[in-house]
Amino acid sequence: MNEGMLVHDAVEGMLRVSPPPPREPTGFFTDASLCIGCKACEVACKQWNALPAEQVGWTGQSYDNTSRLSATTWRHVSFAEHLLPNGDIRWLFNSDVCKHCSAAPCQEACPTGAIIRNEFDNVYVQRDVCNGCGYCVVACPFGVLGRSENDGAAHKCTLCYDRQKDGLTPACAKACPTESIKFGPLAQLREHARERVTELHGQGQTSAYLYGADDSGEYKPLNAFFLLTEEPAAYNLPAAPRRPSASMGRRYLLSAITGVGLSALTVLAFRQNNGAR
């Protein structure tokens, strides 16, 4: 990189342009009951977003060879082998992705304003603004974000922002052969998801439930939510993620009390010995 580029990069990120007008909020509804573990979504994502391959090989636990989301893996098909009481083996699949939380810890943590909500209400990392501080990496309760070794910046699913702007479906949803990954306006997706749960329950699949479709106390709904049939941990998801910022005020308060208290001790010590030397 020459010096001119450096200056250009340094200045460009500081500029703030007015955001485009909001569009209808979009999201993903990933239906694990329809996932066949083909990993077409992973491949389509890598291909469209030009993401490099990571580990090639089995995890040693199942046919999962990605094992987790990262800076260069934005879709991950969890692949679990479950031994049933009768000795049969059942596979549990789910295509994991950034949850595009409606109150996103990564976005709240980001000190540069690189992480924004774009006009589709998706959580988006502005690559030219991110300075790679890594705070979003530790803020996310799902371990979605990673800091790339290649460029030092944080990366995650963009919900195919570029494709959406051109009216296209995100690459993973487009590639999914069973329509396990559904993309669309959030309101429609939620409606459809509830209908799907009712349908499954009617068929006797009573373990089906929605992960992230509604409020969980301090944690707000996920704009990319899931239909699962086993407890969240089976898909390596936390049952009740905490929202880090919810307890921030209390932390500052306790810190301030300690600071003021110790300052008072200090003043007392100096006051008591204020006499003649």
Partner: protein
């Protein structure tokens, strides 16, 4: 006889072998597990913190600078007798602030874009607030440092221009930013999803206490090395005893409120280093409490106690920051730390969903 270590059978062709039979007895066939939640056993769902030595070092030096400025300024405000002492505090605050920006920039994935931290003002992000706090603190430390030099007539040209600004005004004005700098680092770690950092609400309080003790420790060393006044040192020594006890009490509170999430700090090398931090802080308290004997002036004791305090503070920051990685990788603990509670009911089969019938 301990159970034999079995190879993981991820290939269905291995089914039906003797190993597979034993796996079946243990509840596993191939990689299959009886409990679905065990399928990802050992594979963490949290990302490992990308932070290393620079961050611990920044927390350490920033803490000293914050504490030294606070103690120095409070002394200065307390009366004429403590003016000189306050100036020493401000000089220490300046010296320890110097490495901070370098460490902060070096820690970034894209150091050339460090100034993006100041692109917006976003106090809801502790890191953004911290960047602004550091900037403000630098301003006050810089001015008070120049004032201290001017007072000693070390600055023939700048001196007269800064003397019109009352020292005590700068000292008092810089207190809010100095105190924020001391505590925000712990709040920053707490406002994450890493169990060892977020479970207890006391990390900000702990770092605040540690900042003030280490700031006072650094001043104690500077005073012991430069001043001949043994009375000053006696005041510092009794104050450091009180502060050290408060710090250890907050550390105890941190462990009490962390529960199992503090496990990374209680195992292996980190446990050893944290014990070192506690021992060093305890040693500092003991040194400050002991009275000088023959051949042992209180200046020497103050110097040694200050050094021990700094060692304790450095080890504390180091272990707490390092503990983030094993904590993120401890899947079982992370699942437990994010298990349903009345405030956060979560999502899953445990919830009685009104969703089906009530629609």
């Amino acid at each position: 006889m301990p159970p034999r270590e079995l190879p993981v059978l991820s290939n269905p062709l291995h089914y039906g072998t003797e190993d597979a039979d034993e796996h079946r007895e243990n509840g596993r066939v191939g990689a299959a597990v009886r409990r679905p939640r065990d399928a990802y056993r050992g594979i963490p769902f949290l990302a490992t913190p990308p932070w290393g030595t620079e961050v611990s070092a920044y927390f350490f030096f920033g803490g000293i600078s914050s504490g030294a400025f606070t103690v120095g300024s409070l002394a200065m405000v307390c009366g004429q007798r403590w003016r000189e002492f306050g100036r020493i505090g401000h000089i220490v605050a300046f010296g320890t602030l110097l490495p901070c920006p370098i460490l902060l920039v070096d820690d970034l994935g894209r150091p050339a874009l460090f100034h993006h931290m100041l692109r917006i003002f976003k106090p809801s992000s502790p890191m953004n607030l911290g960047a602004w706090t550091l900037l403000t603190h630098s301003g006050f430390v810089g001015v008070s440092f120049v004032q201290a030099l001017a007072h000693a007539d070390r600055l023939p040209l700048v001196g007269p221009t800064v003397r019109w600004l009352p020292e005590r005004l700068v000292a008092a004005g810089g207190l809010p930013s100095a105190l924020t700098l001391g505590g925000y680092t712990g709040v920053l770690l707490g406002t994450t999803s890493i169990p060892v950092w977020f479970t207890s609400p006391l990390l900000g309080a702990l770092f605040m206490a540690s900042s003030l003790t280490s700031g006072l420790g650094a001043i104690a060393m500077a005073v012991a090395l430069t001043s001949r006044d043994s009375e000053d040192i006696e005041v510092i020594r009794s104050l450091s005893v009180q502060m050290g006890i408060v710090e250890l009490a907050v550390l105890e509170g941190y462990f009490a409120t962390s529960g199992k999430s503090a496990r990374p700090l209680m195992t292996g090398k980190l446990a050893l280093e944290l014990t070192g931090a506690i021992v060093a802080t305890g040693l500092a308290i003991a040194l400050d409490m002991s009275s000088p004997r023959e051949g042992n002036t209180n200046r020497m004791l103050g110097l040694a106690a200050g050094a021990a305090t700094l060692v304790g503070s450095a080890l504390l920051r180091w272990t707490v920051v390092r503990a983030g990685s094993p904590s993120a990788q401890d899947r079982e603990n992370a699942l437990e730390a994010m298990s349903p509670s009345p405030e956060v009911p979560g999502w899953g089969p445990h919830r009685k969903y009104p969703r089906i019938t009530e629609r």
